[in-house]
Symmetry: C2
Subunit: 189 residues, 2 copies
Amino acid sequence: MTTTVDESMRNGVDTLTLFATIDAVKSTPEAAKFQFRAQNEWISGTHNRGTIHDYFGVGSERVHERTFTFDADHPAVLVGRDNGPTPVEYVLHALAACLTAGLANIAAARGITLTEVRSTVTGDIDLNGILGLDPGVRNGYQNITVRFTVKGDAPAEKLRALVEQSRARSAVFDIITNQVPVTIEVETD
Amino acid sequence: MTTTVDESMRNGVDTLTLFATIDAVKSTPEAAKFQFRAQNEWISGTHNRGTIHDYFGVGSERVHERTFTFDADHPAVLVGRDNGPTPVEYVLHALAACLTAGLANIAAARGITLTEVRSTVTGDIDLNGILGLDPGVRNGYQNITVRFTVKGDAPAEKLRALVEQSRARSAVFDIITNQVPVTIEVETD
């Protein structure tokens, strides 16, 4: 029994539960429809605070075990007070987190034990765009580079294939490299 | 003098510094080239930790006043331990934060004093995509909706125009609604 449990748990991933979850969704595709949410409250200047708590998934309303709050701001050089990272830095964090979570799941599913996964994400941006000074410059990142270090009990080729498969199934990679329609509604009273 | 200072500070935005910064970039466009960065370290399963500290801008290497760290994870229903929001929730937070920061700056520049700005961002996602169960379903959000409540000393039409201008100049809105090229490099030893 102990051996079975150890075999199931790899990289901190409960692979039996992972496969059972995938099988459950296969038989009930509606369970995979999720809605994630973030609230935000303006504090002062470029400083605001986001709250993440509730979401919908597997057919019902759910809440995280805790309420997560995150401040965002601009640094002084961008006329803020540096009370938190800039919004665009959160995007880089989200990308690294998504690729890393997927990588650990995929490695577990493939029977590969990871010993280290680190990454640095860099995003180049020309603020002439958001400052409205050059109509030929986009507002967002011009390009993003992710540099991974991956170590585990598999040859380099198989470790690289984990990253490739994680990229192919990454929600945040898709959001950044493709287009998502965004609707904005405004209430003023 | 006091009146001048009060006039300059609106919504917590130092508009004199804001305009001076825009003028400075206008005469030295190179100053607007920034590189933002996030580091990530895998912890266990879908749990990993992001760190945001250094960046490049206005011609030199810079650091935030503090080092910001953020855990990301999946909830139990997605075979994680809920040690942090999911990566895709961070994307929603980034969008709200970017639109809100821009809105406060634009309101200040237009002489509008804000009293309240709140928003909720929702993102609909079908996990049949990332689970690899339906090749017709994308990995990322199918659509995102932002609902703003904006209050201040201007008519509804002008408050709505602030949101529209913030959208038109938002880095994160551009990243999500358009395409950003992402390069991934992997080291295995």
